[in-house]
Symmetry: C2
DNA sequence: CCTTGACCTCAAGTTGGCTTGAAGTGGCAG
DNA sequence: CTGCCACTTCAAGCCAACTTGAGGTCAAGG
């Protein structure tokens, strides 16, 4: 078992020691004893940290991420959840595209007040109709 | 000027009154006087709220969003900035796509332990290389 | 042996984005 | 005129995810 002490993990991963200690405290990662005072981590922690970073950027909370690693530290996520998250990312991409298009429109549209430009309003309204409908769907399934 | 009172705005937009007051406090939206005690908002605030929601879902902070509206409440951003922002959104979309594909892989890959699945490791490493590089670029430009 | 510096613990502070609670007010229906 | 209710203010609280600070410890190098 190839061990690294916390400073080395921090250096290699870019995650500050304070954060590593915090992650250990909440059970997201674990250390293998100490050398003197210093926590020792298995090199595998680096991959786990990448996963954590990835998960965070996908919008998972740390608690949710912790839940994705089984007792044994393996990844254990129900397939349905993964697909659901992938779908959510898909929707987020759609939002981004709308926003990007709206921005490009604003950049290129000669109308003085964008809030009054018909095609801009159309873009934004189309977007908000989508989100309101999605919200309603979520509520409905939450209640049911 | 078609005015709505706060309760009506809340009903129509789905944004709670407390949040509307909060948004006004931080200068994100503004009201046009009162009727009795009640804030009156121009109907246009609904469009603005859609924009705000859109911006939030694209990962902008409220402060950043506020910065996108000029002093006069109009969208007032230099064209170059708008295009830069649109490009940033484009990059963010690419990241999301990578992540989405990684999630779908995990959902469909039959390997018992994803941490040991070579193609998973490859995906995660590729993704993290991308993010670390992006981080370095950000730091570099921040410093410069 | 003594200093140095990277670590340690624990508590408290910070930021963002709100929500909640207590106490007060304005206008309209009965 | 009374009462109600939707609003008002202001302060405080809350959650996540950390960071910061004070004061302590250990092992290695000079």
């Amino acid at each position: 078992m190839n061990l690294l002490d916390i400073g080395e993990v921090a250096r290699r991963s870019g995650v500050p020691p304070s954060t590593l200690r915090y992650y250990e405290e909440i059970g997201l990662i674990s250390s293998y004893g100490r050398r003197g005072l210093r926590r020792q981590f298995d090199v595998d922690v680096l991959l786990k940290l990448s996963l954590i970073d990835l998960g965070k950027s996908a919008g998972f909370s740390l608690t949710a991420i912790a839940g994705m690693f089984g007792r044994d530290g393996q990844l254990a996520i129900p397939r349905a959840d993964l697909h659901a998250k992938a779908d959510a990312l898909q929707r987020q991409m759609v939002d981004l595209r709308i926003l990007r298009d709206a921005l490009r429109h604003v950049a290129d549209c000669p109308t003085a007040s964008h809030l009054e430009c018909p095609s801009f309003r159309k873009l934004v309204k189309a977007a908000s109709r989508g989100r309101v409908a999605a919200g309603r769907r979520r509520e409905a399934t939450d209640e049911g």
